[in-house]
């Protein structure tokens, strides 16, 4: 199954203040731990993390949330609702770790952020597990709804 995670909502539940920005390592740690708990309770093949409504994300949070979730391999991660600003922060953090993550575009096709070698391996793995398939035009999309 696909688990939908509203990152902005998780952020709102994670601290005493009401903030829209994913900043500071302690905040990132709390958000990641909540996401890990949400994923662990279900038979989750894909976790779709929606960043809609999230303002700025800093390098500490990109590392603490996205990079660590990928390293812990809790599920296949798919980022959605990410802005150019989010992308510019997440990409170098993942590339520095030799990691890659799927990004779902508004039209449903999949893109990839991070290290190119890891990106190719990730797509191969998803196709082999029948979680993603090539669609007309040469791009990929998730097979699960």
């Amino acid at each position: 199954m696909i688990q939908h995670i509203d990152v902005h909502a998780v952020l709102q539940e994670s601290g005493p203040g009401v903030y829209a920005d994913l900043v500071t390592r302690p905040t990132g740690r709390v958000v990641r731990e909540r996401i890990e708990r949400a994923i662990a309770g279900e038979d989750v093949a894909v976790a779709r993390m929606d960043f809609g409504g999230v303002g700025c994300i800093d390098y500490s949070c990109a590392d603490e949330i996205v990079a660590k979730l990928l390293r812990h391999r809790v599920a296949v991660l798919v980022l959605s609702g990410i802005s150019d600003g989010h992308r510019e922060t997440i990409e170098p953090v993942l590339a520095g770790h030799g990691l890659a993550v799927l990004v779902e575009q508004p039209d449903g096709t999949l893109g990839i952020l991070g290290a190119p070698e890891a990106a190719a391996a990730l797509l191969d793995e998803l196709v082999a597990r029948q979680l993603a398939a090539r669609i007309p035009g040469g791009t990929f999309a998730l097979t699960l709804a």
Binding site: D21, D58, S60, A62, D63, T89, P92, V93
Partner: protein
């Protein structure tokens, strides 16, 4: 809380421009808790059109960093875009750089610190506007923070200058977590893209990443000891400039 009798004396400057600038930047409001201030301090009303994008603001915990980032995005995004002609992507990166600079205090200083953000028009030096982020703390400093993990690697070279070089140029951190050390590296990447500058003063040394428009010294050692750290980040107005 420091008792009034134990507070060191601070004499306010007599130059009206300096006095007014310090007051507008909120310096005296924070200094009053630490110093016995002598001299006349002007009362300044906050003005919407002020070049003070963020007055001197204490940073002690992660919540303070959230508040600073939130404030600067509400207060400064329009100014950054319209007056400094920064691309909207650069204004988002600005908040990121501010967050990472403030987190150095929370994560490494072992005490609280302060941050301020101000826009200036550098007519003589640069003939364009700049935004300056200034972060300072009186904590343990870079050398002390990195000593347990880095001093052996540097051997006899180890000192304040080597610690600054390790943190800013090599991106090392006192934490063994491989994801650490991203903050300053991210700031450097951001500044490289937008032709900005960073300088860090800690202990007896000061290091700077110097853009073409500036003539600062990349590394200075043997300076008077400074406890803690000062981080200075400068982002210039985008567009044609004299260099």
């Amino acid at each position: 809380m420091v008792k009034a009798a134990e507070k060191p004396l601070l004499t306010a400057p007599t130059n009206g421009d300096v006095l007014g600038y310090w007051a507008r930047a909120g310096f005296f409001r924070e200094a009053a808790a630490l110093f016995e201030i002598h001299g006349k301090v002007p009362r300044v009303q906050a003005r919407e059109e002020s070049d003070v994008l963020l007055p001197v603001t204490p940073v002690r915990a992660a919540e303070d960093v959230h508040a600073v980032v939130s404030t600067i995005q509400q207060r400064a995004s329009a100014i950054l875009a319209s007056e400094l002609r920064l691309d909207p992507k650069a204004t988002i990166g600005f908040a990121m750089a501010l967050s990472e600079a403030c987190q150095n205090i929370v994560e490494h200083a072992g005490t609280g610190g302060w941050v301020a953000v101000q826009a200036y028009h550098w007519r003589r030096k640069l003939a364009r506007r700049v935004v300056v982020i200034a972060v300072a703390d009186a904590g343990v400093g870079f050398r002390h923070s990195l000593e347990p993990t880095q001093s052996k690697r540097f051997g006899d070279r180890w000192g304040d200058a080597a610690a600054l070089e390790a943190a800013l140029i090599q991106g090392v951190s006192r934490f063994r977590d491989p994801g650490r050390g991203q903050g300053l590296a991210g700031i450097r990447r951001y500044l490289g893209r937008w032709d900005g500058k960073i300088a860090i003063r800690s202990g007896t040394a000061r290091i700077a990443i110097v853009p073409k428009w500036d003539d600062d010294v990349p590394l200075n050692d043997g300076l008077p000891p400074f406890p803690g750290a000062q981080v200075l980040i400068i982002i210039p107005e985008q567009g044609s400039t004299k260099q």
